[in-house]
Symmetry: C2
Subunit: 431 residues, 2 copies
């Protein structure tokens, strides 16, 4: 499949994008100073939406699991970034243990794991893969798409350390969002580096904490760029715990939805945007409930209520009261071969190391594309450099069309880093 | 021109190369620990020679000037490494000044400068280019091969700082080896970062200091690999100051040459190598005299003497007494399209960021290829990844054929870093 280049990126540079490109030295300096005060995530991926008038992150993943979708020619970048990360975390490291998610039946996930293992091996570590799934009693030798084998071994705990049989790691990389809670085997590991930290696990995180941090970060970036930070920030409203069966709580939610829709309408009017605004209603804690509703009118909320109810009836572990977050919806205007596409940016430490477009042939411009049937087109610096070559022939210095994506993704990652600092249960407070 | 792949790299993995590949985690850990104690050069290039049985650096350049020869698809690696370097040296940096060599009539050099400027711009700095050539009184707007323009401005000094008109840099990158000595304008710049430091300039450096440091470094790497460090270390003999016109000094030099030839012969015998050994006789201080002689027999030395004498007669500024270094010669067995090729590795901070083969159609396997008429073939990770793809189809994990080159180049760079520490006139000594 020949990737058709994307309208959003092949079209003229928007005013917003031009602002990012022109402000590059100021942006990079700002990030450098941030990284003196804050610790970047060891790795992360950020899904973005580009609506043409606005570019914003729609999800920040602390356990990225699509490493095999990156263009192979980008992997030296990831290896170099991994080297930097190791140098910082534990220069004397010999062994790295990757703890997998409990979805090793998914062949895409195995390909991702194999790629992740190779990246850290090429960065100079012995890398082995362990599972904390109690079902796995013996080592499991699997085969990935490339034909290479992938060994997954049961994690064992001894004397306050975890490892594998004959393998004692100094650093442990979690590739498991621990959605079911923190298992005992990972608690109180004071002798080893566990990354990301346990309080980054799904059931600790609140989208509202993250969104508040993101707002704080983009407010400052807005000043650096001298533009309205709304152009890269989704607005949100937190509702606290609601009982969806309670008419009063439902009324309260409708008010919040209407309030946010009104705020978006005002912004659309300010910028002359003709689209119909929408919001996304979801649980603040994604491990409590994964359903979400796209709402253009408060009356649509009935559907959302049923969404929860069905989940409940099907036996899913849902609390009757759910913390609710209402978020500004961001359309995606990018398309590849008539399919809706959303860019995903991969980072290792503070560096953008690659990305891809997630595309879905049967999804609409406001749908969640991380769904069965989605496919991927890697973003490659090679194609970039071909484009560069072409334009350099005309004597013009070509802008990096992915630069704005990389900046917004790093803002999202920085917000998560603030979020983890703010929610760290072991944080020492200095007054 | 389609690059024919190189016999040395397309052939079977040698025992030595296999040892490097197998020891990767130990090698990388060793480097990580070194970089905790020592400061990598801000940038550097190392020319290597691969004789099939031996791989060794033949020159380490602290002012690399062939940046435009790197494959364009490798430039994100250099940008990322530059970001790491800036983060470490001066995170609050806004402005970087590159000081050029006084050879701005050389179009290859201008292309290199333009590329270097772009790399640091993409890393997030305002980058301008200055000249300390007293001849340049006005700014000079030049055009490079790509058609882009390149502005070179006269460097000015004010209140203990240097800069350009309306441009005050916090960091200054020297791309000028200051072969004629340190100009006053660069002395005592205590408020700005000057990289590499002034005592890295050509007329301060002694090849013997560097060679001693390289021997020290490779001795330790030999232990990591459990191989004889001679397999990646050229032997050398220092002779001190010699008057070439003095028969006694000439005799002394002949003795040194014969002694080193005998040592090489013993090594060749030990490893069953059938080649005829040779040594290279050159000035220890390359700024004193750039001639060198390839000597297979002490009788060839007469030629060398004349080499010096001619230089002297032609009016070059040569001291009658020259510090002499005798170095083991390394053949190059790598060929591209029937031309002799030598790999050149480019580094930024502690990272390998690319490289190329320098080839020369009319040079022999023991000649210096950095001569007029040489051409370049970039080493690209893209081709690497194509090779990878091909072999992965067979289910085999492909070794990185450039890994050994990257390690030896980093050893050479580390040796220079030791050398600069040892020769630092401002070093504080703690006892």
């Amino acid at each position: 499949m020949v990737p058709h280049l994307l309208p959003a990126l092949m079209g003229p540079v928007s005013e917003l994008e031009q602002r990012f490109l022109d402000s590059m030295p100021a942006i990079e300096r700002w990030f450098r100073l941030e990284w003196m005060e804050h610790t970047p995530l060891v790795y992360s991926s950020v899904t973005l939406r580009n609506s043409g008038f606005k570019l914003a992150p729609v999800s920040t993943n602390l356990y990225p699991s699509e490493w095999s979708q990156l263009a192979p020619e980008m992997s030296p970048l990831a290896v170099q970034a991994a080297m930097t990360a190791i140098q910082k975390i534990c220069p004397e490291a010999k062994n790295l243990l990757i703890i997998v998610a409990n979805k090793i039946a998914d062949s895409n996930y195995l390909d991702s794991l194999s790629q992740l293992q190779q990246l850290f091996q090429r960065a100079g570590l012995h890398v082995r893969i362990g599972s904390i799934d109690g079902q796995l009693k013996e080592k499991n030798n699997l085969t990935v798409s490339s034909g290479e084998s992938l060994l997954i071994e049961p994690v064992i705990r001894e004397k306050g350390r975890i490892g594998l049989k004959d393998f004692d790691p100094c650093t442990i990389l979690l590739n498991n969002n621990l959605i079911a809670g923190i298992p005992g085997i990972l608690e109180d590991l004071h002798q080893q580096y566990l990354l990301p930290p346990l309080h980054g696990a799904s059931n600790f995180r609140r989208k509202s904490n993250y969104s508040n941090c993101y707002e704080m970060v983009t407010k400052r970036m807005g000043k650096v760029l001298a533009v309205d930070p709304w152009l890269f920030t989704p607005m949100h409203e937190t509702c606290g715990k609601l009982f969806m069966q309670e008419p009063n709580d439902m009324l309260y939610l409708k008010e919040k939805v209407n309030a946010l829709l009104a705020k978006i309408k005002r912004k659309y009017k300010e910028y002359g945007i003709k689209e119909k605004p929408f919001v996304v209603v979801k649980a603040d804690n994604s491990s409590a409930c994964s359903s979400m509703a796209i709402v253009r009118d408060a009356n649509d909320l009935q559907t959302f209520y049923f969404g929860f109810k069905e989940a409940e009836l099907s036996g899913a572990d849902i609390h009757p009261a759910v913390e609710i977050l209402v978020q500004e919806g961001i359309l995606t205007k990018e398309q590849i071969s008539d399919s809706v596409a959303e860019p995903v940016v991969y980072m290792m430490d503070r560096y953008v190391v690659g990305g891809f477009y997630r595309i879905h042939p049967s999804m609409g411009i406001d749908d969640d594309l991380k769904a069965p049937g989605s496919s991927y087109i890697p973003i490659s610096s090679e194609k970039e450099s071909e484009m560069a070559q072409k334009e350099v022939e005309f004597g013009a210095r070509r802008p990096n069309r992915f630069y704005m994506y990389g900046v917004v993704a790093r803002l999202a990652m920085l917000a998560s880093s603030y979020e983890l600092e703010a929610t760290d249960p072991d944080a020492e407070e200095y007054y």
